[in-house]
Symmetry: none
Subunit: 78 residues, 2 copies
Amino acid sequence: MDAVDPHDPVPLYQQVARELRNMIISGELAPRDALPSELTIQQRYQVSRGTARRAIEMLRDEGLIYTVPQRASYVAER
Amino acid sequence: MDAVDPHDPVPLYQQVARELRNMIISGELAPRDALPSELTIQQRYQVSRGTARRAIEMLRDEGLIYTVPQRASYVAER
DNA sequence: GTGTATTTGTTCGTATGTATC
DNA sequence: CGATACATACGAACAAATACA
């Protein structure tokens, strides 16, 4: 069972967001840790860059991460 | 709170420049005193040499320091 | 004077996110 | 979706001048 499945009715960006969210909640990614880059996400889940960006945007809106322009996105504290 | 923080949206070279600038303004570094070497800056703030050089370049552009090739940068008089 | 270490100068390559078309 | 350009940042390598034992 792939983590991200194109046949799943759930939008890809939501699936990707869920994966990343799990990595944060599980502690695999600790506060202030950098998230995988957009390119890494593309390759890992076989999605387009737009999809990767949208997933990241989702987590940012949730307050789970913050993005430092020209650098990377990081897991938020707390 | 680190003096130079990768999670701060402010570009690293600007953060480093700010630190050095403060050392000059506070008088910790007097006119004609040598600035920390590029290597020292790298190690002290955990940044790359390019970033250290760019910070120095900034202060030079501001007229706060001058650089003697193959020697060091010094705090400007006045 | 000689050799070594240090320091700045310079260039190249890679990676990242942002913006635009 | 792809392609490009840009800004930031890191790393490596080498050159050249200087400092020092």
